[in-house]
Amino acid sequence: MRLRLFGLALGLLGFVSALSAQGQNLLVVIEDESDKTKYSQFWSDLQDRGFQLSYRSPKDTTLSLFLHGEPAYSHLLLLPTKSKGFGPNLTPNLIVDFVNGGSNVLLASATSKKAIKNFFSVDGLVAFPHAVGQVLGNASPLLASVIKAPATAYTYNPKEDSTEGLEDVFATGAQLTLVSAFQARNSARFTVLGSSAALEDKWFDASVSLPGSTSGKTGQKTANKAFAHALSAWTFKELGVLRVNSVTHRLAEDTRAGITNSTAVSAAPGDVNPEIYRIKNRVHYAVSLSEYSGTHWIPFTPPAGDAVQLEFSMLSPFHRLDLTPSPDTTNPQDNATLYTAEFVLPDQHGIFNFFLEYRRPFYTNVEEKRTVSVRHFAHDEWPRSFVISAAFPWIGGIWVTVLGWLGFVGLWVYSKPGGARRELKVGGVGGKK
């Protein structure tokens, strides 16, 4: 056992430089082996971050995204091919299955019919040569735009004669997205980079200048390298990964104080995560959240203006509360933020959920559901009648009855008949005689 543990520790040491919160296996689909050198800086950056890169051609017949029905790689990087598709091993359906299996995809495109042309700016820092724009539908909250095209960008078909003026514009300006991100419900990530050339060494080292800037300036080095790092880090789950360390809920009051004979089906103040509460119980909820930051877990803090919210729900939420963050001091090894709330359960009995749902663009989804029963008041948990002022006349009536009954029994047993009444009776009887 000790040996095995030791081996495990060794294995962990071996992966200490690995960064992704998910896995290290990265499949790079590149058509031309000779094109590989064009991206050498990007490859070395990925390798330095602990990824194990496998280069395969889409034409390779042995190429398969799956091994024994499970995704064979944690991450996939698709570089454009000269042909229209990626071939029978990388059909859209297979890639969708791959994403459903929880793996991440970075798609760099250059072979689209729609191309973005921009005469005015290269977005200041990041150069997107030959960019392909994407238009995101408004319907899905899973899609997010990473970089929008500048205001004067528009799409046109480069296959048409470019000297012709264009009549029909598909999309213009900031409606276009140069880099867009998609995060599936299982938190698998799919990033579309509008320009594969932006990852090339040439553009990592290039100097660009904004048109219209003063002619004396020679230009600025592109931030492509940093951007490629950030984009691949996000796609391959080195950034924006959340972890729930623990979820606890407990009673925050001593409801059984002063009740000698409470029902057995009840949460005691010391219980952690009890299965049952009573309506109007004051409860305390705490969830510990960490965020992965490339190399290690750090306490998670939501962006300004955002809040981690807890719902206490039966079909629909009865409570939806912003949780209060505080450093998690009880479990310092987790390196987490503790989000807490204290609230009174609704006056409705039934099966309820403590439902924590944190879905935000660029963060992995957090969904934690804890089901509890909420019972109504037991018969001995109500206030006694003698503390209810409206009951005093009834209680008085009972005492009057008790004392009147005792008095009646005493009189009936011990009373000596009065003389006058008997004479009256005797006289009446005598009169009839």
Binding site: F119, F120, A139, S215, L411
Partner: protein, 288 residues
């Protein structure tokens, strides 16, 4: 690649003193309703490349058409650029929409915009839209993009634009705090105390009425003298039964109360029959 090479050339040409640039000539802006003749245009303005029309915001009523006619020029000669746009920009939200001019090879052409062409977000803009003209193409000429005029929209109050349904986004939602039912209340205590006193007052009234009718306990000594155990147990068990009920009210449950009540009840039954025999004896003796 074409973009950056054109950029590079732009940079070079900026260095040199002579550079052609895009611009326009003979630009007129009209706002007219469909049926009206050419002469009866509501608004007619001349646009010049270097001085935007900022003195007032051009108003576009619901049924009318905004029309801009111009000749695009590269340097001095009329030419068609690849990107001739009229861009409407909402300064508060940052949203924008572009409309391409349809130009001839000579650079002459026009664009027409009605309220139907505008998306909902621009139609419902609170402030006037900022309209710019964008003229640019491949090559070394400096592109033109400049604020031309402001456009105010006069919506048809009879037919307001249909509000598109809000699209789902992952954000924090408004807080919900459960609204509890009202706590059970009591009437004013004065009223409760008054009726409590009324109820309690019936006991002295009852005892007084019995006393007036000649009720007494004169046979107490006689009864205890004849059957002390029976009478003692009987009265004791009657009082004890009230005590059992009282304990049931205060703290006992049914299973604690029933056996005690059974014992007390048996005592009351047995001793009661003896005590009542003594009472019967007094009645038969003519003392009742």
């Amino acid at each position: 690649m074409r973009l950056l090479s054109s950029l590079a050339i732009t940079g070079l040409s900026l260095g040199s003193a002579f550079a052609a640039s895009w611009g326009f000539e003979d630009a007129t802006l009209t706002v007219s309703s469909k049926g009206a003749g050419v002469g009866s245009a509501g608004v007619k303005e001349k646009l010049t490349p270097n001085s935007p029309l900022t003195s007032y915001a051009v108003t576009l009523p619901a049924a009318d058409t905004l029309k801009i006619v111009l000749t695009a020029t590269e340097g001095k000669t009329g030419k068609r650029p690849h990107q001739p746009f009229l861009t409407l920009h909402d300064t508060t939200t940052g949203l924008e929409e572009s409309f391409p001019f349809s130009l001839k090879d000579s650079g002459k052409g026009k664009v027409e915009v009605t309220q139907k062409d505008l998306p909902y977000q621009l139609l419902t803009s609170k402030s006037p839209l900022k309209a710019s003209l964008v003229l640019a193409s491949f090559g070394s000429s400096t592109p033109y993009a400049s604020h031309a005029f402001d456009l105010a929209l006069e919506l048809d109050s009879a037919a307001p634009p249909a509000t598109p349904p809000a699209s789902e986004r992952y954000t924090s939602k408004p807080e919900i705090h459960h609204i509890f039912k009202a706590e059970p209340g009591s009437p004013p205590k004065v009223i409760s105390f008054f009726f409590t006193l009324c109820v309690l007052a019936t006991l002295p009234v009852l005892l007084g009425a019995w006393a007036l009718l000649g009720a007494n306990v004169d046979h107490f000594g006689k009864a205890f003298g004849a059957a002390p155990v029976s009478h003692g147990l009987f009265m004791g068990s009657v009082v004890a039964m009230e005590g059992v009920f009282f304990m049931y009210y205060i703290s006992w449950n049914l299973f604690q109360m029933l056996p005690v009540a059974a014992v007390v009840g048996t005592v009351a039954y047995v001793s009661g029959s003896r005590a009542l025999t003594e009472v019967q004896d007094r009645r038969l003796a003519g003392e009742r």
